[in-house]
Structure formats: structure tokens, C-alpha cells
């Protein structure tokens, strides 16, 4: 239990640093899609809601959990959809002009 706690803290720390390094490289051109994509990924919270609802322990938990699944799923579907729509619009010059 306590060792799991510590390993989770390490995970948080490493993921934070990794995120910082990876996201720093994202071109400012794509900052809007970046935000909608991370938002969709963040909706992985749906996994927690699924377990709570599926266990079916209390009516309250099922009720709250179902609404959590609804709003998280809408973020997953809507987030990926709009990110892809945005990225499809980014085209480079027809002459195939490379990077600046």
C-alpha cells in the first residue's frame, strides 16, 4: 500500500517532467489542437467512472458515476474529433516549400 503510494508519486513526477519536455517541442502553430488533444486524453478519467458504476455499490455512486461517464465520454469523442478536424486543415504551400 505504502510502497504503491511511493511508486505513484514517482510516476507523477516522471510523467510531469516527460510531459514538460515533450510538450515544449510542440510548435506554437499547433497550440490549439494541443489543448483539445490533451483534453481528450485527460478524459481517461472515464475509466475510473466505469469501475464505480459497474461495481453498483450504491445508488448515489451509480448516479454520479453515470454522469461522470457521460461528460468524460463527450470529451473523448468531441476532443479527438475536433483535433483531427483542425489538423486536417493545416496544409503546407503547394510548391512544397519546406520548413522556414
Amino acid at each position: 500500500m505504502s510502497s504503491e503510494l511511493w511508486s505513484n508519486i514517482y510516476v507523477l513526477l516522471l510523467a510531469g517532467f516527460l510531459g514538460f519536455e515533450v510538450i515544449r517541442r510542440v510548435s506554437p502553430l499547433l497550440h490549439t489542437p494541443l489543448m483539445s488533444l490533451t483534453n481528450a486524453l485527460d478524459a481517461i478519467a472515464v475509466v475510473g467512472a466505469i469501475v464505480i458504476v459497474g461495481e453498483g455499490h450504491t445508488k448515489l455512486a451509480t448516479f454520479l458515476g453515470t454522469f461522470a461517464i457521460i461528460s468524460a465520454t463527450s470529451n473523448v469523442v468531441g476532443g479527438f474529433l475536433i483535433t483531427d478536424r483542425m489538423l486536417r486543415m493545416f496544409k503546407s504551400s503547394p510548391r512544397g516549400g519546406g520548413k522556414k
Partner: protein, 464 residues
């Protein structure tokens, strides 16, 4: 934990999902690989959800499927909104994410109380405090962006003290609950107080501060999800939350730097303080105005044109006309580029998305530093609906409220043209001395209409 084969399989699926999430962000670094990134994210998400459904603790699937189906049905229209509505859609999705996390936190608390360790209770408190304040704050931000709420910042005496003491009381209750996790009657306060705080936090925010605020809320939503990861002991959630949290954090840093605000200033919500312009510009000089016909004649003679778009272009929905303008000039062999200030518009990257929507090639969109090194060689700088990000006072007038803010140095171009509705100042209430320079021509009118007539002149008037 070390249980059955299914458990091992589920954990393995989560590891794959996490790797795909990281690759997804990695591939987003360049427009050429970005769509692959979205695909990686989608596959990762699908794997994670399907694997979770195998969890043997799940005994009933009824409400799970109701939730998934209804959520997908709501998500589809949210994914199909117009590009001009992307800032408010983004704010809304931060609200949804935070809402989900808060609901899960509440359910977890009432399922477990009073049998909760101090550490889990701390994580739970962070989860629901950040979650509920992000929920109302994001709804407020979305309301302001959609213009159903007044966009004008509302400030009053001692606002920061009020806000900080409200937040303080929530933290105090959190501490009491960490000591006494069984105090179930306190738990609703842990949600209600941050809900109120979220509203108060956004009241003093004006439109121009939105890029910073949206990024900050993005970061909060991520952190609350990471905290939830500690409560439900899910490394998958911790990683996804940390990635989202650091993404929002980086964006808020970039935005606050581009507005010359310290990061602590932003963190404590002390934005939107519209300072009175200390020295009202006395020497209001003369303004030279031009008709679109006159402007088109000058543009036609140029070799290089730099367009500087701002929020005004988005409001006027002028991006498609701007693209026609780009086409007309390119056809004449004139080199056209677009200088993008990091905080132009209402969210990070707003201008890039609008111009990409209008089919302007992304390699024509250049960042502030590159643009500034090019301005001295530019024949015509055309400012469309941008104001404060072009004000030279930011560089030399120590009394100016925007002093120190990095700007696009359009005044270095040979000729500056500004398309503007009238002479009203920008969000900070500051006169823009750019408009009074000898080399500046003002073209008054609606951005879409003016660019439209420029296009007509440029493509019609072969006789020139």
C-alpha cells in the same frame, strides 16, 4: 492485485495506452506527424476503455453503456463546432472534464468514508477542490467567450482578498477532513466553496486575458485528474493527468510571458486589472486615413507584405477574405506572410487555426521572433484587427500599462496599414501611437468588408 490473468491483461493494456498517449503528444510536435498523434491517442483510449470493461469488479453494464452512448452523442456535435467557436468549446470541455472528476471524487468519498487514509483524503480534497473550481471557472470563461456573459472585467475593492480568503476556507475544511475523514457533513462544503470561487475567479477577467486563463484551467483540470489517479490508484490516470497538467502549465507560462505578466500574478488570479493609463496621450497627432483603392495601389507596388491578424479578424469572420487577399497577392508574385503574436485571439494558437481553416498554408504563418527580424525588410505591414500587440509604447514608454510586453514591431516596416472600425483603444484602454506615425495609413471599416474591397481592387484593377 497480483490476481488473475485478466488483471495482468488489463494492466498490460494500460501500459500500452500510456505509451500511446505519450507518443500522441510527441507526434503533435510537427504538423506533418500530428494526425498520426491523434490516431495514437484514439487507439490508446479505446484500448484503455475496452480493457476496463473486462474488470471483474464490474457486475452490471447497464448504466455504463447508457453513459458511453449518451456521452458520445453529446460529444459529436461538440466536435463539429465552427472553428470560430473553438475557444468557447475548449473552455466547455475543460468544464466537462473537471465535472467528471468531481463527480467521481464525490462518489469515491461516500463509498469509502470514514475508512480513508490521510493521504487518500488529501488527494481526494485536491481532486474535488480543483475539479469544482475548474468546472465553474470554465463555464464562466465559456460564457464570456460565447458572449452570453458580459466580457467586460468586473473588479471591486479588495477582490483578491475576498477570493483568497474563500479559497483559504476551502483549504481549511480540507485540512479538517484529512484529520477527520468521517466528517461527511463537511464534504459538500469542499465542493460548494470552490464552485463559488471558480465564478469569482473569472469575474475580473477580460477577453484579452482569456488565452492565459484557458491554459491555466487546462492545467487545473489535468492536476485534478492526476489527484484522482492517486485516489483510485491508477497510474494511467496519474500519467494522463500529469501530461495534461504540464501542457496547460507550459501554455500558461508562454501566454503570461507574451503578456509580460509574472507567473505568480497569473496563478493568483490577479489578472484583468485594467490599470488607468497613467499619461493620457496628450500629443494626439494626426491620423492619415486611406480608402481601400489607395491602399491597394500601394500594396500592388510592394514586394513583401506581412499580415498581422488579431482578434478583430476572428470577430469579423474575415479569415476567408484574408485568404483571397493572400491568393491575389501571391498571383502577382508578392511575398505574403502572417505574423502571429502568441496571445493574438482568445486562446493559444487561435489565429493559426482560423487561417488554416481558410486554407492559408501553415508555412506562411510565422512566430513573433522571426516576424520581428523580418519587419525591417517588409514593404507593407497590414494589421487586421490587432491592437495592443502592435503598440510601440510597450517597448519605450515606461508609463504605459503594457510596457515590457513583447510586441510585433510593425512600425519597422516601410508602410503600415491598419484596418480598424474606429479610433477606439484596445482592451487595456491605451492609445496606440502606431496609428499616429507618418508611415501609418488607417483604413476604417469592418475587417471583412475592407479586405474584400482590397481583393476586388487587386484582382480587378489590371490597368494600374
Amino acid at each position: 492485485m497480483e490476481g488473475t490473468g485478466t488483471d495482468v491483461f488489463i494492466e498490460f493494456a494500460y501500459v500500452i495506452a500510456v505509451s500511446l498517449f505519450i507518443l500522441s503528444l510527441r507526434w503533435l510536435s510537427s504538423p506533418t506527424t500530428a494526425r498520426r498523434g491523434v490516431l495514437a491517442g484514439e487507439v490508446g483510449m479505446l484500448i484503455a476503455i475496452l480493457a476496463t470493461l473486462l474488470n471483474h469488479q464490474i457486475v452490471t453494464y447497464h448504466w455504463i453503456f447508457v453513459g458511453l452512448v449518451v456521452g458520445a452523442l453529446i460529444g459529436i456535435p461538440l466536435g463539429l463546432v465552427q472553428m470560430t467557436a473553438v475557444p468557447q468549446r475548449t473552455a466547455l470541455s475543460h468544464a466537462f472534464g473537471a465535472f467528471a472528476v468531481t463527480l467521481i471524487g464525490t462518489a469515491e468519498y461516500y463509498l469509502r468514508a470514514p475508512d480513508i487514509s490521510a493521504f487518500v483524503m488529501s488527494a481526494l480534497a485536491i481532486e474535488v477542490i480543483l475539479g469544482s473550481l475548474t468546472f465553474t471557472a470554465s463555464l464562466m470563461a465559456a460564457g464570456k467567450l460565447q458572449e452570453v456573459l458580459p466580457q467586460r472585467p468586473i473588479t471591486y475593492e479588495g477582490q483578491n482578498k475576498v477570493n483568497l480568503s474563500i479559497l483559504g476556507s476551502a483549504i481549511l475544511i480540507a485540512l479538517i477532513m484529512v484529520a477527520h475523514p468521517g466528517a461527511t457533513w463537511l464534504f459538500p462544503l469542499l465542493i460548494l466553496i470552490p464552485l463559488a470561487f471558480g465564478v469569482l475567479l473569472i469575474i475580473p477577467i477580460g477577453g484579452a486575458d482569456m488565452p492565459t486563463v484557458i491554459s491555466l484551467l487546462n492545467s487545473y483540470a489535468g492536476l485534478s485528474a492526476a489527484a484522482m489517479g492517486f485516489v483510485v490508484k491508477s497510474k494511467l490516470l496519474i500519467v494522463a493527468g500529469a501530461l495534461d497538467g504540464s501542457s496547460g502549465f507550459i501554455l500558461s507560462m508562454i501566454m503570461s510571458k507574451a503578456m509580460n505578466r509574472s507567473f505568480t500574478n497569473v496563478l493568483f488570479g490577479a489578472f484583468g486589472q485594467v490599470q488607468e493609463s497613467a499619461a493620457k496621450t496628450e500629443e494626439v497627432g494626426t491620423v492619415r486615413s486611406a480608402t481601400p483603392e489607395e491602399a491597394a495601389a500601394i500594396i500592388e507596388a510592394a514586394a513583401t507584405v506581412m499580415v498581422v491578424p488579431g482578434y478583430g479578424m476572428a470577430v469579423a469572420q474575415a479569415q476567408h477574405k484574408v485568404r483571397e487577399f493572400y491568393d491575389a497577392l501571391t498571383k502577382k508574385g508578392i511575398d505574403v506572410k502572417f505574423a502571429i503574436h502568441p496571445v493574438a485571439g482568445r486562446m493559444p494558437g487561435h489565429m493559426n487555426v482560423l487561417l488554416a481553416e481558410a486554407d492559408v498554408p501553415y508555412d506562411r504563418l510565422i512566430e513573433m521572433e522571426d516576424a520581428n527580424s523580418e519587419f525591417p525588410q517588409v514593404d507593407v505591414a497590414l494589421v487586421i484587427g490587432a491592437n495592443d500587440v502592435t503598440n510601440p509604447a510597450a517597448r519605450h514608454d515606461k508609463n504605459s500599462p503594457i510596457y515590457g510586453m513583447p510586441i510585433l514591431e510593425v512600425e519597422k516596416a516601410r508602410t503600415v496599414m491598419v484596418i480598424k472600425r474606429g479610433m477606439s483603444p484596445g482592451f487595456a484602454g491605451i492609445e496606440n501611437e502606431l496609428y499616429y506615425l507618418d508611415k501609418t495609413l488607417m483604413i476604417f471599416g469592418d475587417a471583412k468588408a475592407v479586405v474584400g474591397s482590397l481583393v476586388r481592387e487587386l484582382s480587378g484593377g489590371q490597368g494600374h
